[in-house]
Symmetry: C2
Protein backbone atom coordinates (compact mmCIF):
# COMPACT_ATOMS: atom_id res chain seq x y z
CA UNK A 1 0.00 0.00 0.00
CA UNK A 2 1.36 3.41 -0.99
CA UNK A 3 1.22 6.24 1.52
CA UNK A 4 2.17 9.87 1.96
CA UNK A 5 3.20 12.06 4.87
CA UNK A 6 1.34 15.16 6.02
CA UNK A 7 3.07 17.77 8.17
CA UNK A 8 1.33 20.56 10.06
CA UNK A 9 3.59 23.50 10.88
CA UNK A 10 0.58 25.67 11.72
CA UNK A 11 0.28 25.06 15.45
CA UNK A 12 2.72 25.36 18.31
CA UNK A 13 4.10 21.83 18.02
CA UNK A 14 5.11 20.05 14.88
CA UNK A 15 2.54 17.37 13.93
CA UNK A 16 3.16 14.62 11.39
CA UNK A 17 0.98 11.83 10.01
CA UNK A 18 1.31 8.94 7.59
CA UNK A 19 -1.87 8.57 5.52
CA UNK A 20 -2.64 5.95 2.89
CA UNK A 21 -4.05 6.83 -0.53
CA UNK A 22 -7.62 6.19 0.61
CA UNK A 23 -7.29 8.63 3.49
CA UNK A 24 -6.74 6.11 6.26
CA UNK A 25 -4.42 7.54 8.91
CA UNK A 26 -1.69 4.98 9.53
CA UNK A 27 0.09 6.84 12.29
CA UNK A 28 0.07 10.31 13.77
CA UNK A 29 2.73 11.88 15.96
CA UNK A 30 2.94 15.18 17.77
CA UNK A 31 6.62 15.95 18.21
CA UNK A 32 8.03 17.98 21.04
CA UNK A 33 9.44 20.38 18.47
CA UNK A 34 8.30 23.94 19.04
CA UNK A 35 7.90 25.30 15.48
CA UNK A 36 8.91 28.76 16.68
CA UNK A 37 12.45 27.58 17.35
CA UNK A 38 15.41 28.05 15.06
CA UNK A 39 14.54 27.18 11.47
CA UNK A 40 17.28 24.66 10.68
CA UNK A 41 16.62 22.78 13.90
CA UNK A 42 12.88 22.58 13.19
CA UNK A 43 13.62 21.26 9.70
CA UNK A 44 16.19 18.74 10.99
CA UNK A 45 13.79 17.42 13.64
CA UNK A 46 10.99 17.28 11.07
CA UNK A 47 13.14 15.21 8.75
CA UNK A 48 14.16 12.86 11.59
CA UNK A 49 10.52 12.38 12.57
CA UNK A 50 9.48 11.72 8.96
CA UNK A 51 12.25 9.14 8.59
CA UNK A 52 11.18 7.41 11.82
CA UNK A 53 7.56 7.33 10.62
CA UNK A 54 8.56 5.94 7.24
CA UNK A 55 10.64 3.25 8.91
CA UNK A 56 7.57 2.00 10.76
CA UNK A 57 5.06 2.30 7.89
CA UNK A 58 4.75 -0.60 5.46
CA UNK A 59 4.53 0.48 1.83
CA UNK A 60 5.94 2.99 -0.58
CA UNK A 61 6.28 6.68 0.34
CA UNK A 62 4.87 8.87 -2.45
CA UNK A 63 5.78 12.25 -1.07
CA UNK A 64 5.40 14.77 1.73
CA UNK A 65 2.95 17.63 2.02
CA UNK A 66 3.57 20.45 4.49
CA UNK A 67 0.99 22.97 5.69
CA UNK A 68 2.70 26.25 6.52
CA UNK A 69 1.24 29.39 8.10
CA UNK A 70 2.17 31.94 5.46
CA UNK A 71 2.19 32.81 1.80
CA UNK A 72 4.00 30.38 -0.42
CA UNK A 73 5.35 30.88 -3.90
CA UNK A 74 3.92 27.66 -5.35
CA UNK A 75 6.36 27.67 -8.23
CA UNK A 76 9.62 28.08 -6.32
CA UNK A 77 8.62 26.59 -2.95
CA UNK A 78 9.83 29.70 -1.11
CA UNK A 79 8.00 31.18 1.86
CA UNK A 80 7.17 34.71 0.77
CA UNK A 81 5.55 35.86 3.99
CA UNK A 82 5.10 34.10 7.30
CA UNK A 83 4.59 36.32 10.35
CA UNK A 84 4.75 33.27 12.68
CA UNK A 85 7.94 31.84 11.14
CA UNK A 86 10.10 34.96 10.75
CA UNK A 87 13.37 33.13 10.04
CA UNK A 88 11.84 31.25 7.13
CA UNK A 89 11.34 34.21 4.82
CA UNK A 90 12.52 33.52 1.26
CA UNK A 91 14.22 30.33 2.44
CA UNK A 92 14.02 27.42 -0.04
CA UNK A 93 12.09 25.19 2.38
CA UNK A 94 10.86 22.78 -0.25
CA UNK A 95 14.21 22.17 -1.93
CA UNK A 96 16.05 21.75 1.38
CA UNK A 97 13.61 19.11 2.64
CA UNK A 98 13.43 17.37 -0.73
CA UNK A 99 17.20 17.15 -0.71
CA UNK A 100 17.33 15.93 2.89
CA UNK A 101 14.69 13.23 2.49
CA UNK A 102 15.01 12.38 -1.19
CA UNK A 103 11.31 12.49 -1.93
CA UNK A 104 8.78 14.90 -3.44
CA UNK A 105 7.80 17.76 -1.11
CA UNK A 106 4.79 20.05 -1.64
CA UNK A 107 4.21 23.17 0.45
CA UNK A 108 0.79 24.68 0.96
CA UNK A 109 -0.69 27.43 3.09
CA UNK A 110 -2.08 25.82 6.26
CA UNK A 111 -5.62 27.19 5.80
CA UNK A 112 -5.65 25.81 2.25
CA UNK A 113 -4.38 22.45 3.55
CA UNK A 114 -7.23 22.35 6.10
CA UNK A 115 -9.74 23.15 3.32
CA UNK A 116 -8.28 20.35 1.22
CA UNK A 117 -8.54 17.93 4.16
CA UNK A 118 -12.24 18.68 4.69
CA UNK A 119 -12.75 18.49 0.93
CA UNK A 120 -11.06 15.10 0.67
CA UNK A 121 -12.40 13.34 3.75
CA UNK A 122 -14.51 15.68 5.86
CA UNK A 123 -17.64 17.81 5.63
CA UNK A 124 -17.18 18.60 1.93
CA UNK A 125 -16.23 15.13 0.69
CA UNK A 126 -19.34 14.91 -1.56
CA UNK A 127 -19.14 18.31 -3.29
CA UNK A 128 -16.88 19.58 -6.07
CA UNK A 129 -16.31 23.09 -4.71
CA UNK A 130 -16.19 24.51 -1.19
CA UNK A 131 -15.07 27.38 0.96
CA UNK A 132 -13.53 26.79 4.37
CA UNK A 133 -13.25 29.36 7.13
CA UNK A 134 -10.87 28.47 9.95
CA UNK A 135 -11.43 30.24 13.27
CA UNK A 136 -8.25 30.15 15.33
CA UNK A 137 -6.02 32.82 16.83
CA UNK A 138 -6.81 34.59 13.56
CA UNK A 139 -9.33 33.75 10.85
CA UNK A 140 -8.05 31.93 7.78
CA UNK A 141 -9.75 30.65 4.69
CA UNK A 142 -9.34 28.23 1.83
CA UNK A 143 -11.18 27.75 -1.46
CA UNK A 144 -11.55 24.59 -3.49
CA UNK A 145 -13.09 25.41 -6.87
CA UNK A 146 -13.90 22.59 -9.26
CA UNK A 147 -11.77 20.17 -7.26
CA UNK A 148 -8.66 22.33 -7.03
CA UNK A 149 -7.32 24.73 -4.45
CA UNK A 150 -7.80 28.29 -5.74
CA UNK A 151 -4.50 30.03 -5.08
CA UNK A 152 -5.12 33.27 -6.92
CA UNK A 153 -2.45 35.13 -8.82
CA UNK A 154 0.20 35.21 -6.08
CA UNK A 155 -0.89 32.41 -3.74
CA UNK A 156 -2.70 34.95 -1.55
CA UNK A 157 -6.33 33.94 -2.15
CA UNK A 158 -8.63 32.92 0.69
CA UNK A 159 -7.90 35.78 3.10
CA UNK A 160 -11.51 35.63 4.27
CA UNK A 161 -10.54 36.83 7.75
CA UNK A 162 -9.85 40.27 6.29
CA UNK A 163 -13.17 40.90 4.59
CA UNK A 164 -14.63 44.08 6.09
CA UNK A 165 -17.66 43.42 8.31
CA UNK A 166 -18.01 46.81 10.04
CA UNK A 167 -16.26 49.59 8.10
CA UNK A 168 -15.59 51.56 11.29
CA UNK A 169 -15.07 48.53 13.55
CA UNK A 170 -12.00 47.69 15.68
CA UNK A 171 -8.60 48.23 14.03
CA UNK A 172 -6.99 45.10 12.61
CA UNK A 173 -3.32 44.15 12.37
CA UNK A 174 -3.70 44.13 8.58
CA UNK A 175 -4.16 47.92 8.52
CA UNK A 176 -7.91 47.90 7.97
CA UNK A 177 -10.80 48.16 10.45
CA UNK A 178 -13.69 45.85 11.30
CA UNK A 179 -12.28 42.75 9.60
CA UNK A 180 -14.02 39.40 10.18
CA UNK A 181 -10.97 38.38 12.25
CA UNK A 182 -11.81 41.16 14.73
CA UNK A 183 -15.15 39.49 15.50
CA UNK A 184 -14.75 35.75 14.94
CA UNK A 185 -11.25 34.69 16.08
CA UNK A 186 -10.37 33.30 19.52
CA UNK A 187 -8.46 36.56 20.07
CA UNK A 188 -11.62 38.55 19.29
CA UNK A 189 -13.75 36.43 21.65
CA UNK A 190 -11.34 37.17 24.50
CA UNK A 191 -11.17 40.88 23.60
CA UNK A 192 -14.95 41.19 23.51
CA UNK A 193 -15.35 39.27 26.79
CA UNK A 194 -12.74 41.50 28.45
CA UNK A 195 -14.59 44.59 27.20
CA UNK A 196 -17.86 43.26 28.66
CA UNK A 197 -16.10 42.61 31.98
CA UNK A 198 -14.62 46.11 31.93
CA UNK A 199 -17.95 47.83 31.33
CA UNK A 200 -19.62 45.84 34.09
CA UNK A 201 -22.06 43.95 31.87
CA UNK A 202 -20.54 40.51 32.51
CA UNK A 203 -20.41 39.78 36.28
CA UNK A 204 -20.15 36.00 35.86
CA UNK A 205 -17.38 36.32 33.29
CA UNK A 206 -15.60 38.72 35.65
CA UNK A 207 -15.80 36.17 38.47
CA UNK A 208 -14.52 33.34 36.24
CA UNK A 209 -11.75 35.52 34.86
CA UNK A 210 -10.68 36.41 38.40
CA UNK A 211 -9.98 32.76 39.15
CA UNK A 212 -7.63 32.17 36.23
CA UNK A 213 -4.33 33.68 35.11
CA UNK A 214 -5.59 34.12 31.57
CA UNK A 215 -9.10 34.37 30.10
CA UNK A 216 -9.51 32.07 27.08
CA UNK A 217 -12.09 31.73 24.31
CA UNK A 218 -12.79 28.24 25.64
CA UNK A 219 -13.75 29.67 29.04
CA UNK A 220 -16.13 32.15 27.42
CA UNK A 221 -17.61 29.24 25.47
CA UNK A 222 -18.05 27.19 28.66
CA UNK A 223 -19.82 30.11 30.31
CA UNK A 224 -22.10 30.49 27.27
CA UNK A 225 -22.95 26.78 27.50
CA UNK A 226 -23.81 27.27 31.17
CA UNK A 227 -26.31 29.93 30.15
CA UNK A 228 -24.39 33.12 30.94
CA UNK A 229 -26.00 35.86 28.80
CA UNK A 230 -22.88 38.02 28.52
CA UNK A 231 -20.89 35.06 27.19
CA UNK A 232 -23.72 34.21 24.80
CA UNK A 233 -23.83 37.80 23.54
CA UNK A 234 -20.13 37.51 22.71
CA UNK A 235 -20.85 34.49 20.52
CA UNK A 236 -23.84 36.29 18.97
CA UNK A 237 -21.29 38.79 17.64
CA UNK A 238 -19.18 35.89 16.30
CA UNK A 239 -22.24 34.38 14.57
CA UNK A 240 -23.44 37.68 13.13
CA UNK A 241 -20.03 38.59 11.68
CA UNK A 242 -19.57 35.11 10.19
CA UNK A 243 -23.11 35.32 8.80
CA UNK A 244 -22.40 38.64 7.07
CA UNK A 245 -19.18 37.26 5.55
CA UNK A 246 -20.66 33.92 4.47
CA UNK A 247 -23.73 35.66 2.96
CA UNK A 248 -21.36 37.73 0.80
CA UNK A 249 -19.44 34.58 -0.19
CA UNK A 250 -22.69 32.79 -1.08
CA UNK A 251 -23.79 35.76 -3.21
CA UNK A 252 -20.46 35.98 -5.00
CA UNK A 253 -19.50 32.28 -5.41
CA UNK A 254 -22.77 30.31 -5.26
CA UNK A 255 -20.87 27.27 -3.96
CA UNK A 256 -22.58 24.14 -2.64
CA UNK A 257 -20.77 24.25 0.71
CA UNK A 258 -19.22 26.59 3.27
CA UNK A 259 -17.39 24.88 6.14
CA UNK A 260 -16.49 26.51 9.46
CA UNK A 261 -13.56 24.94 11.30
CA UNK A 262 -10.76 25.75 13.72
CA UNK A 263 -10.79 25.88 17.51
CA UNK A 264 -13.60 28.43 17.86
CA UNK A 265 -15.84 26.17 15.74
CA UNK A 266 -16.13 23.98 18.88
CA UNK A 267 -18.71 26.59 19.89
CA UNK A 268 -20.69 25.93 16.66
CA UNK A 269 -23.96 25.15 18.40
CA UNK A 270 -23.69 28.34 20.43
CA UNK A 271 -23.14 30.73 17.49
CA UNK A 272 -24.58 28.86 14.48
CA UNK A 273 -28.26 29.86 14.99
CA UNK A 274 -27.26 33.55 14.73
CA UNK A 275 -24.91 32.78 11.84
CA UNK A 276 -27.55 30.95 9.78
CA UNK A 277 -30.24 33.57 10.49
CA UNK A 278 -27.86 36.27 9.24
CA UNK A 279 -26.95 34.31 6.08
CA UNK A 280 -30.65 33.74 5.34
CA UNK A 281 -31.46 37.42 5.81
CA UNK A 282 -28.54 38.71 3.75
CA UNK A 283 -28.37 36.28 0.85
CA UNK A 284 -31.25 35.79 -1.56
CA UNK A 285 -28.99 33.28 -3.31
CA UNK A 286 -28.94 31.26 -0.06
CA UNK A 287 -32.71 31.53 0.32
CA UNK A 288 -33.19 30.33 -3.27
CA UNK A 289 -30.95 27.31 -2.73
CA UNK A 290 -31.12 26.56 1.02
CA UNK A 291 -31.40 22.94 1.99
CA UNK A 292 -34.61 21.67 3.53
CA UNK A 293 -34.77 18.77 5.95
CA UNK A 294 -32.90 16.54 3.54
CA UNK A 295 -30.00 18.49 2.05
CA UNK A 296 -28.87 17.19 -1.30
CA UNK A 297 -25.20 17.67 -1.98
CA UNK A 298 -24.53 19.79 -5.03
CA UNK A 299 -28.02 21.26 -5.44
CA UNK A 300 -28.34 23.09 -2.13
CA UNK A 301 -26.22 25.62 -0.29
CA UNK A 302 -24.96 24.04 2.91
CA UNK A 303 -23.28 25.99 5.71
CA UNK A 304 -21.87 23.56 8.24
CA UNK A 305 -19.09 22.86 10.69
CA UNK A 306 -15.89 21.03 9.88
CA UNK A 307 -15.62 17.35 10.75
CA UNK A 308 -11.92 16.61 11.04
CA UNK A 309 -10.95 19.00 13.83
CA UNK A 310 -7.25 19.77 14.01
CA UNK A 311 -6.48 16.79 11.75
CA UNK A 312 -7.96 18.55 8.69
CA UNK A 313 -4.62 20.22 7.96
CA UNK A 314 -2.72 16.94 8.38
CA UNK A 315 -5.03 15.07 5.99
CA UNK A 316 -4.95 17.93 3.50
CA UNK A 317 -1.15 18.12 3.63
CA UNK A 318 -0.92 14.36 3.07
CA UNK A 319 -3.19 14.74 0.02
CA UNK A 320 -0.86 17.26 -1.66
CA UNK A 321 1.72 14.83 -3.13
CA UNK A 322 -1.07 12.80 -4.76
CA UNK A 323 -2.49 15.90 -6.43
CA UNK A 324 0.97 16.97 -7.57
CA UNK A 325 1.57 13.51 -9.02
CA UNK A 326 -1.76 13.65 -10.85
CA UNK A 327 -0.76 17.00 -12.40
CA UNK A 328 2.59 15.79 -13.65
CA UNK A 329 0.88 12.85 -15.35
CA UNK A 330 -1.32 15.22 -17.38
CA UNK B 1 -15.08 34.85 -42.57
CA UNK B 2 -17.17 33.19 -39.88
CA UNK B 3 -19.18 35.38 -37.53
CA UNK B 4 -21.60 35.19 -34.65
CA UNK B 5 -24.47 37.31 -33.38
CA UNK B 6 -24.64 38.92 -29.96
CA UNK B 7 -27.96 40.04 -28.51
CA UNK B 8 -28.39 42.31 -25.48
CA UNK B 9 -31.75 41.97 -23.79
CA UNK B 10 -30.50 43.81 -20.73
CA UNK B 11 -31.46 47.37 -21.55
CA UNK B 12 -34.72 48.99 -22.60
CA UNK B 13 -34.30 48.40 -26.32
CA UNK B 14 -33.20 45.22 -28.00
CA UNK B 15 -29.63 45.54 -29.32
CA UNK B 16 -28.02 43.14 -31.78
CA UNK B 17 -24.54 42.92 -33.31
CA UNK B 18 -22.71 40.74 -35.80
CA UNK B 19 -19.12 40.14 -34.66
CA UNK B 20 -16.39 38.19 -36.42
CA UNK B 21 -14.26 35.59 -34.67
CA UNK B 22 -11.49 38.10 -34.01
CA UNK B 23 -13.87 40.46 -32.24
CA UNK B 24 -14.38 42.93 -35.07
CA UNK B 25 -17.91 44.33 -34.97
CA UNK B 26 -19.38 43.95 -38.45
CA UNK B 27 -22.69 45.64 -37.78
CA UNK B 28 -24.65 46.80 -34.77
CA UNK B 29 -28.34 47.64 -34.63
CA UNK B 30 -30.54 49.01 -31.90
CA UNK B 31 -34.07 47.89 -32.72
CA UNK B 32 -37.18 49.80 -31.74
CA UNK B 33 -38.32 46.73 -29.82
CA UNK B 34 -39.06 47.50 -26.19
CA UNK B 35 -37.87 44.34 -24.40
CA UNK B 36 -40.58 44.81 -21.77
CA UNK B 37 -43.31 44.06 -24.34
CA UNK B 38 -45.04 40.72 -24.77
CA UNK B 39 -42.56 37.86 -24.82
CA UNK B 40 -43.49 36.17 -28.11
CA UNK B 41 -43.45 39.49 -29.93
CA UNK B 42 -40.00 40.37 -28.58
CA UNK B 43 -38.70 36.97 -29.66
CA UNK B 44 -40.30 37.26 -33.13
CA UNK B 45 -38.83 40.72 -33.71
CA UNK B 46 -35.45 39.53 -32.43
CA UNK B 47 -35.48 36.64 -34.90
CA UNK B 48 -36.48 38.97 -37.77
CA UNK B 49 -33.65 41.37 -36.89
CA UNK B 50 -31.12 38.53 -36.66
CA UNK B 51 -32.23 37.23 -40.07
CA UNK B 52 -31.91 40.70 -41.60
CA UNK B 53 -28.40 41.09 -40.10
CA UNK B 54 -27.34 37.67 -41.39
CA UNK B 55 -28.63 38.51 -44.83
CA UNK B 56 -26.31 41.50 -44.99
CA UNK B 57 -23.23 39.88 -43.40
CA UNK B 58 -20.86 37.94 -45.62
CA UNK B 59 -19.70 34.65 -44.12
CA UNK B 60 -20.95 31.74 -42.12
CA UNK B 61 -23.08 32.23 -38.99
CA UNK B 62 -21.70 30.13 -36.11
CA UNK B 63 -24.37 30.83 -33.55
CA UNK B 64 -26.15 33.39 -31.42
CA UNK B 65 -25.41 34.47 -27.87
CA UNK B 66 -28.01 36.31 -25.82
CA UNK B 67 -27.37 38.31 -22.65
CA UNK B 68 -30.43 38.18 -20.43
CA UNK B 69 -31.10 40.04 -17.18
CA UNK B 70 -31.88 37.10 -14.91
CA UNK B 71 -30.82 33.70 -13.70
CA UNK B 72 -30.47 31.07 -16.37
CA UNK B 73 -30.44 27.34 -16.04
CA UNK B 74 -27.40 26.76 -18.24
CA UNK B 75 -28.30 23.13 -18.87
CA UNK B 76 -31.90 23.57 -20.00
CA UNK B 77 -31.80 27.14 -21.36
CA UNK B 78 -34.76 28.15 -19.20
CA UNK B 79 -35.01 31.52 -17.48
CA UNK B 80 -35.33 30.65 -13.81
CA UNK B 81 -35.71 34.18 -12.50
CA UNK B 82 -35.91 37.47 -14.32
CA UNK B 83 -37.58 40.34 -12.46
CA UNK B 84 -37.38 42.59 -15.55
CA UNK B 85 -38.84 39.98 -17.93
CA UNK B 86 -41.74 38.57 -15.90
CA UNK B 87 -43.44 36.71 -18.76
CA UNK B 88 -40.27 34.76 -19.57
CA UNK B 89 -40.13 32.70 -16.38
CA UNK B 90 -39.46 29.01 -17.06
CA UNK B 91 -40.04 29.58 -20.78
CA UNK B 92 -37.73 27.56 -23.08
CA UNK B 93 -36.16 30.67 -24.64
CA UNK B 94 -33.14 28.91 -26.03
CA UNK B 95 -35.01 26.06 -27.70
CA UNK B 96 -37.64 28.38 -29.22
CA UNK B 97 -35.05 30.66 -30.80
CA UNK B 98 -32.88 27.75 -31.93
CA UNK B 99 -35.93 26.27 -33.61
CA UNK B 100 -36.95 29.55 -35.20
CA UNK B 101 -33.49 30.41 -36.58
CA UNK B 102 -31.99 26.96 -37.05
CA UNK B 103 -28.68 27.79 -35.39
CA UNK B 104 -26.99 27.30 -32.02
CA UNK B 105 -28.24 29.66 -29.31
CA UNK B 106 -26.47 30.24 -25.98
CA UNK B 107 -28.06 32.21 -23.14
CA UNK B 108 -26.05 33.98 -20.47
CA UNK B 109 -26.75 36.33 -17.62
CA UNK B 110 -26.19 39.90 -18.90
CA UNK B 111 -23.64 40.82 -16.20
CA UNK B 112 -21.67 37.67 -17.04
CA UNK B 113 -21.87 38.55 -20.76
CA UNK B 114 -20.47 42.03 -20.03
CA UNK B 115 -17.63 40.45 -18.00
CA UNK B 116 -16.88 38.10 -20.88
CA UNK B 117 -16.84 41.03 -23.33
CA UNK B 118 -14.30 42.97 -21.25
CA UNK B 119 -12.32 39.75 -20.81
CA UNK B 120 -12.26 39.04 -24.54
CA UNK B 121 -11.64 42.50 -25.97
CA UNK B 122 -11.66 45.11 -23.22
CA UNK B 123 -9.82 46.06 -20.05
CA UNK B 124 -9.08 42.43 -19.09
CA UNK B 125 -7.99 41.11 -22.47
CA UNK B 126 -4.46 40.32 -21.22
CA UNK B 127 -5.32 38.46 -17.98
CA UNK B 128 -6.63 34.93 -17.40
CA UNK B 129 -9.03 35.75 -14.56
CA UNK B 130 -11.07 38.83 -13.69
CA UNK B 131 -13.98 40.19 -11.77
CA UNK B 132 -16.36 42.73 -13.31
CA UNK B 133 -18.70 45.01 -11.38
CA UNK B 134 -21.41 46.68 -13.43
CA UNK B 135 -22.95 49.84 -11.97
CA UNK B 136 -26.34 50.47 -13.54
CA UNK B 137 -29.85 50.79 -12.12
CA UNK B 138 -28.64 48.00 -9.84
CA UNK B 139 -25.15 46.59 -9.32
CA UNK B 140 -24.29 43.35 -11.12
CA UNK B 141 -21.17 41.28 -11.29
CA UNK B 142 -19.43 38.63 -13.32
CA UNK B 143 -16.44 36.41 -12.68
CA UNK B 144 -14.05 34.88 -15.18
CA UNK B 145 -11.79 32.35 -13.45
CA UNK B 146 -9.07 30.64 -15.44
CA UNK B 147 -10.63 31.76 -18.71
CA UNK B 148 -14.17 30.60 -17.97
CA UNK B 149 -17.25 32.29 -16.59
CA UNK B 150 -17.77 31.08 -13.02
CA UNK B 151 -21.48 30.28 -12.79
CA UNK B 152 -21.55 28.66 -9.38
CA UNK B 153 -23.76 25.74 -8.51
CA UNK B 154 -27.05 27.19 -9.77
CA UNK B 155 -25.95 29.91 -12.18
CA UNK B 156 -26.30 32.51 -9.41
CA UNK B 157 -22.67 33.48 -8.85
CA UNK B 158 -21.44 37.06 -9.21
CA UNK B 159 -24.13 38.82 -7.13
CA UNK B 160 -21.54 41.33 -6.00
CA UNK B 161 -24.18 44.04 -5.67
CA UNK B 162 -25.55 42.24 -2.64
CA UNK B 163 -22.39 42.00 -0.58
CA UNK B 164 -23.04 43.76 2.73
CA UNK B 165 -21.12 47.04 3.05
CA UNK B 166 -22.87 48.58 6.08
CA UNK B 167 -24.67 45.94 8.17
CA UNK B 168 -27.26 48.47 9.35
CA UNK B 169 -27.38 50.51 6.14
CA UNK B 170 -30.40 51.27 3.92
CA UNK B 171 -32.79 48.37 3.29
CA UNK B 172 -32.32 46.59 -0.06
CA UNK B 173 -34.90 44.96 -2.31
CA UNK B 174 -33.08 41.66 -1.76
CA UNK B 175 -34.21 41.56 1.88
CA UNK B 176 -30.88 42.57 3.40
CA UNK B 177 -29.56 45.98 4.47
CA UNK B 178 -26.58 48.05 3.41
CA UNK B 179 -25.83 46.10 0.19
CA UNK B 180 -23.26 47.54 -2.24
CA UNK B 181 -26.18 48.27 -4.60
CA UNK B 182 -27.56 50.70 -2.01
CA UNK B 183 -24.42 52.84 -2.32
CA UNK B 184 -23.05 52.40 -5.84
CA UNK B 185 -25.96 52.09 -8.30
CA UNK B 186 -27.49 54.95 -10.29
CA UNK B 187 -30.58 54.51 -8.12
CA UNK B 188 -28.46 54.95 -4.99
CA UNK B 189 -26.75 58.08 -6.35
CA UNK B 190 -30.16 59.67 -6.94
CA UNK B 191 -31.44 58.57 -3.51
CA UNK B 192 -28.38 59.99 -1.74
CA UNK B 193 -28.56 63.25 -3.72
CA UNK B 194 -32.28 63.60 -2.86
CA UNK B 195 -31.49 63.03 0.81
CA UNK B 196 -28.80 65.73 0.69
CA UNK B 197 -31.29 68.11 -0.96
CA UNK B 198 -33.92 67.27 1.67
CA UNK B 199 -31.60 67.96 4.62
CA UNK B 200 -30.51 71.26 3.11
CA UNK B 201 -26.86 70.32 2.60
CA UNK B 202 -26.99 70.51 -1.22
CA UNK B 203 -28.27 73.93 -2.36
CA UNK B 204 -26.81 73.67 -5.87
CA UNK B 205 -28.22 70.19 -6.37
CA UNK B 206 -31.58 71.48 -5.14
CA UNK B 207 -31.50 74.29 -7.71
CA UNK B 208 -30.57 71.91 -10.53
CA UNK B 209 -33.19 69.40 -9.45
CA UNK B 210 -35.83 72.15 -9.47
CA UNK B 211 -35.20 72.76 -13.17
CA UNK B 212 -35.79 69.18 -14.28
CA UNK B 213 -38.69 66.73 -14.07
CA UNK B 214 -36.44 63.99 -12.77
CA UNK B 215 -33.08 64.06 -11.01
CA UNK B 216 -30.65 61.59 -12.61
CA UNK B 217 -27.29 60.11 -11.58
CA UNK B 218 -25.83 61.81 -14.66
CA UNK B 219 -26.90 65.22 -13.37
CA UNK B 220 -25.31 64.56 -10.00
CA UNK B 221 -22.15 63.54 -11.85
CA UNK B 222 -22.21 66.75 -13.93
CA UNK B 223 -22.54 68.80 -10.75
CA UNK B 224 -19.63 66.91 -9.18
CA UNK B 225 -17.53 67.67 -12.26
CA UNK B 226 -18.43 71.35 -11.89
CA UNK B 227 -17.03 71.25 -8.36
CA UNK B 228 -20.21 71.02 -6.28
CA UNK B 229 -19.14 69.58 -2.91
CA UNK B 230 -22.49 67.94 -2.14
CA UNK B 231 -22.44 66.08 -5.46
CA UNK B 232 -18.81 65.09 -4.86
CA UNK B 233 -19.69 63.77 -1.40
CA UNK B 234 -22.30 61.54 -3.01
CA UNK B 235 -19.64 60.00 -5.25
CA UNK B 236 -17.29 59.69 -2.26
CA UNK B 237 -19.88 57.31 -0.82
CA UNK B 238 -19.94 55.41 -4.13
CA UNK B 239 -16.14 55.13 -4.13
CA UNK B 240 -15.89 54.11 -0.48
CA UNK B 241 -18.54 51.37 -0.82
CA UNK B 242 -16.95 50.02 -4.01
CA UNK B 243 -13.55 50.14 -2.30
CA UNK B 244 -14.79 48.09 0.66
CA UNK B 245 -16.33 45.50 -1.67
CA UNK B 246 -13.34 45.30 -4.02
CA UNK B 247 -10.91 45.04 -1.07
CA UNK B 248 -12.86 41.99 0.14
CA UNK B 249 -12.80 40.50 -3.37
CA UNK B 250 -9.04 41.10 -3.64
CA UNK B 251 -8.49 39.42 -0.25
CA UNK B 252 -10.64 36.42 -1.16
CA UNK B 253 -9.80 35.88 -4.85
CA UNK B 254 -6.35 37.43 -5.40
CA UNK B 255 -7.22 38.03 -9.07
CA UNK B 256 -5.06 40.12 -11.41
CA UNK B 257 -7.92 42.44 -12.40
CA UNK B 258 -11.13 44.03 -11.14
CA UNK B 259 -13.07 46.03 -13.73
CA UNK B 260 -15.77 48.61 -12.98
CA UNK B 261 -18.29 49.19 -15.77
CA UNK B 262 -21.87 50.24 -16.38
CA UNK B 263 -23.38 53.72 -16.69
CA UNK B 264 -22.20 55.02 -13.30
CA UNK B 265 -18.62 54.11 -14.27
CA UNK B 266 -18.70 57.22 -16.50
CA UNK B 267 -18.00 59.03 -13.22
CA UNK B 268 -14.85 56.91 -12.69
CA UNK B 269 -12.48 59.86 -12.34
CA UNK B 270 -14.78 61.41 -9.73
CA UNK B 271 -15.06 58.37 -7.45
CA UNK B 272 -11.94 56.31 -8.26
CA UNK B 273 -9.49 58.18 -5.96
CA UNK B 274 -11.69 57.35 -2.95
CA UNK B 275 -12.20 53.79 -4.25
CA UNK B 276 -8.50 53.08 -4.66
CA UNK B 277 -7.60 54.64 -1.32
CA UNK B 278 -10.15 52.40 0.38
CA UNK B 279 -8.89 49.26 -1.41
CA UNK B 280 -5.32 50.10 -0.40
CA UNK B 281 -6.31 50.65 3.22
CA UNK B 282 -8.45 47.50 3.49
CA UNK B 283 -6.49 44.93 1.53
CA UNK B 284 -2.96 43.91 2.48
CA UNK B 285 -3.15 41.55 -0.50
CA UNK B 286 -3.65 44.62 -2.71
CA UNK B 287 -0.78 46.46 -1.05
CA UNK B 288 1.49 43.44 -1.56
CA UNK B 289 0.63 43.22 -5.25
CA UNK B 290 -0.40 46.74 -6.29
CA UNK B 291 0.91 47.98 -9.60
CA UNK B 292 3.46 50.76 -9.71
CA UNK B 293 3.79 53.18 -12.57
CA UNK B 294 4.10 50.35 -15.06
CA UNK B 295 1.49 47.73 -14.21
CA UNK B 296 2.39 44.29 -15.46
CA UNK B 297 -0.56 42.13 -16.36
CA UNK B 298 -0.78 38.95 -14.34
CA UNK B 299 1.68 39.90 -11.60
CA UNK B 300 -0.07 42.96 -10.18
CA UNK B 301 -3.56 43.63 -8.90
CA UNK B 302 -5.22 46.15 -11.19
CA UNK B 303 -8.47 47.92 -10.38
CA UNK B 304 -9.65 49.81 -13.43
CA UNK B 305 -12.63 50.97 -15.45
CA UNK B 306 -14.25 49.05 -18.27
CA UNK B 307 -13.30 49.94 -21.84
CA UNK B 308 -16.20 48.78 -23.99
CA UNK B 309 -19.06 50.78 -22.49
CA UNK B 310 -22.51 49.42 -23.26
CA UNK B 311 -21.06 47.23 -26.04
CA UNK B 312 -19.35 44.91 -23.50
CA UNK B 313 -22.52 42.81 -23.22
CA UNK B 314 -22.91 42.61 -27.00
CA UNK B 315 -19.32 41.47 -27.52
CA UNK B 316 -19.57 39.00 -24.66
CA UNK B 317 -22.83 37.57 -26.00
CA UNK B 318 -21.28 37.18 -29.45
CA UNK B 319 -18.37 35.29 -27.87
CA UNK B 320 -20.66 32.67 -26.29
CA UNK B 321 -21.25 30.44 -29.36
CA UNK B 322 -17.48 30.20 -29.94
CA UNK B 323 -16.91 29.05 -26.37
CA UNK B 324 -19.76 26.55 -26.61
CA UNK B 325 -18.30 25.20 -29.85
CA UNK B 326 -14.89 24.82 -28.20
CA UNK B 327 -16.46 22.82 -25.38
CA UNK B 328 -18.28 20.39 -27.66
CA UNK B 329 -15.02 19.71 -29.50
CA UNK B 330 -13.35 18.53 -26.27
Amino acid sequence: MAFSIGVDLGGTNLRIAAVDEHGKMLEKITTGTDVRRERDQVIAEMCDAVRALCGRAAGELRGIGIGVPGIIDMRTGLLRESPNLPGWHDYPVRDKIEHNLGTMVVLENDANAAALGEFWLGAARDVSSMCMITLGTGVGGGLVLGGEIWHGMAGMAGEIGHMTIEPEGPPCGCGSRGCLEQFASATAVVRMARAAIADGSAPELARAAGQTPELSARMVYQMALEGDRAAQRTFDVVGRALGIAIAALVNVFNLPMYVVGGGVASAWHVFSPTLLEEVRRRSFVYRATAAGDTPMHGTHTIVTRALLGSDAGLYGAARLPWIEQGKSKK
